[in-house]
């Protein structure tokens, strides 16, 4: 069903789109080079045969230990043609930015802010590039694999409550 989409994409952008594959459950996916992601997305939206009018989910994954470290995943859907694809873009840690696709779909606004807040990936071209969940004094990007689970940075000094056990928590993790 969406295989035709991937074929059209590979035919149109042979240098930018590589390694298409069929994922689990029949999802059609491909890898895209990060410099061309905005052009690819614009083509997917504006081509009348493809008509990907929504990008319901854009997220990032931290593959610590693998180079390039991050991967930004775009799940795109077309409500009129009823097909979906997934695009994966590898982002290295030393050049941790990727062009924003806000100009293509305004709905990816908060998804890109989430990737910046949680993973530290920049999106030049995004109109409102600030943290989404964490407060501005927060240092670091919590969902990275090297950020500790219990790395709290309290804003108000905590009251001394001596009777409560303040140990490291169950299992000794972190």
């Amino acid at each position: 069903m969406s295989k035709a989409v991937i074929d059209a994409l590979v035919a149109r952008f042979p240098d930018a789109v590589h390694d298409p594959y069929v994922g689990v459950g029949g999802d059609d996916c491909a890898f895209v080079r990060k410099e061309r992601i905005a052009d690819v997305c614009r083509f997917l939206k504006e081509d009348p045969a493809l008509d990907f009018n929504q990008a319901p989910y854009v997220t990032a994954v931290d593959y610590l230990g693998v180079e390039p470290r991050f991967e930004v995943v775009y799940n795109l859907t077309s409500t009129s043609k009823n097909h979906r694809i997934r695009l994966r873009v590898k982002v290295p840690e030393d050049d941790c930015q990727i062009p924003s696709v806000w100009g293509v779909w305004r709905g990816v606004d908060w998804f890109e802010r989430y990737c910046w807040d949680m993973y530290g990936i920049r999106f030049p071209g995004h109109p409102d590039h600030r943290r989404l969940f964490m407060y501005d004094e927060f240092q670091g990007h919590p969902l990275r694999k090297d950020y500790p689970l219990r790395g709290r940075q309290p804003l108000v000094p905590e009251r001394p409550v001596e009777e409560i056990y303040r140990g490291p928590g169950p299992g000794g993790r972190d």
Binding site: Q54, V61, N75, W105, L155
Partner: protein, 418 residues
């Protein structure tokens, strides 16, 4: 005398700068200036904690900035540190008014990665419990919308109807609100005896209360004045903003995942998908009322069609074996031990699975490294595009229209702030 936004800046939020320079003279020769006010983060609308920084020109909103994060509980990072089955309570508390749908969404995603097929009866049970929680979600939204526009009676009726359904769900799942009912491979418990009959009666009574709410609100002059024509989102705008679910359908786009990409047993039940015309608050309200009627239709068909059978797969790699086997056979004991200590071993890979939750497309993007704990558990919250579009939707409308618009998109804090 100037009105400035004095507020705690200990959390350094970005506020729109007060318009600098001398004040302008308006048409009558009065000096005016825009006012910046702060709504939240602890405010009466029980929708979760959101901070609005609203810039006003008289009563007209010129700009809004929305700050979220006051309920961020680290859902994704917590799920990365527990086993796959232990993620279910975390998913419960995402959209806490319809928690079974979150459970179902997550379970479907894991089963997609595991290439696991669940028994028929489990599918029907998942649909029954999901649709009941969908009705509860819509009742909460309808009641809260009425209350915040001043109709407190509507809230009482809505909560009473919801309590009736929760009584039935308590008998089924064990908890009223955060149910933790679904397991990977099926569901946790089977229907108690006589439950279907009792549920039919509860649904009938809840339907009566819902029709009374409709009678109180739909032809009500005040309600119509406040919700018709306010918060209008056109079809093109809705698609561009990434709306899904009832809000998208209220703007005129007939896209429902239960019809477009049927999962579980939605292709074996008949129901209609209501589509709105204007995309205003009134349409979104009517959309919820109509969806409740369709959910009751689905439930009646489920009660008639549900087959007998198992409620979980009979596979010791995914499901705890029954207790006689655990204490009697060595395979049962080993299977039980490995499942509890190490968790379900999901094959390495990634998958994105989506369902039609009460608010829209609820998606789970899973990455597994082959172990017993998720490597990444990404949540696509249906409320995100709805709330992020609010500043654009509210530009140019009155301050009093902010409340019905915010209610009608039904933003649930738990899923938006994960």
């Amino acid at each position: 005398m100037s009105i400035e936004a004095k507020g705690p800046s200990e959390h350094g939020d970005a506020r729109p700068a007060l318009p600098a320079g001398p004040t302008e003279l308006d048409a009558e020769g009065l000096r005016t200036r825009r006012m910046v006010i702060n709504l939240g983060p602890s405010h009466p609308a029980t929708h979760g904690v959101t901070k609005f920084i609203v810039e006003l020109d008289g009563e007209t909103i010129t700009d809004t900035k929305i700050e979220i994060g006051y309920l961020h509980r680290g859902f994704e990072k917590s799920c990365e540190s527990v086993t796959w089955t232990q993620c279910f309570p975390y998913t419960d508390r995402l959209n806490y008014v319809s928690s079974i749908m979150n459970n179902v969404g997550f379970a479907l995603a894991v089963e997609k990665l595991c290439r696991l097929d669940i028994p028929e009866r489990a599918k029907w049970l998942r649909v029954i419990s999901s649709e009941m929680h969908r009705i509860c979600d819509h009742l909460t939204m309808v009641g809260a919308m009425g209350m915040e526009l001043g109709a407190f009676t509507v809230f009482l009726y809505g909560i009473e109807a919801r309590d009736l359904l929760w009584d039935r769900l308590t008998e089924l799942c064990g908890a009223r609100l955060t149910s933790n009912y679904v397991r990977i491979g099926g569901v946790a418990r089977d229907l108690p005896d006589g439950w279907i009959e009792k549920t039919r009666r509860s649904l009938a009574r809840a339907a009566e209360l819902r029709e009374e709410i409709g009678g109180l609100l739909i032809r009500n002059r005040i309600f119509m004045d406040r919700t018709r024509g306010t918060g209008v989102v056109t079809r093109a705008q809705a698609l561009d903003f990434g709306f899904t679910g009832p809000c998208l359908r209220a703007s005129g786009e007939p896209y429902d995942l239960r019809k477009a990409a049927p999962y579980l047993v939605y292709d074996q039940v008949e129901f209609d998908v209501p589509v709105g015309k204007n995309g205003d608050n009134f349409d979104r309200f009517l959309m919820r009322m109509e969806e409740m009627r369709q959910s009751e239709r689905i439930l009646e068909q489920c009660f008639q069609k549900i087959p007998a059978g198992d409620i979980v797969v009979d596979d010791v790699r995914y499901v705890l074996p029954p207790k006689p086997q655990v204490y009697g056979t060595i395979e049962g004991a080993m299977g039980h031990f490995k499942l509890i200590m190490e968790g379900i071993k999901v094959p390495a890979g990634e998958a994105y699975s989506y369902t039609e939750a009460a608010n829209g497309e609820l998606g789970f993007y899973l990455v597994s490294d082959g172990g017993g704990r998720p490597y990444k558990l990404g949540l696509r919250a249906p409320g995100w595009p709805l709330v992020s579009a609010l500043p654009y939707v509210m530009k140019g409308s009155l301050l009093a229209d902010l409340v019905p618009t915010y209610d009608s998109v039904n933003m649930i804090g738990g899923e938006v702030e994960q």
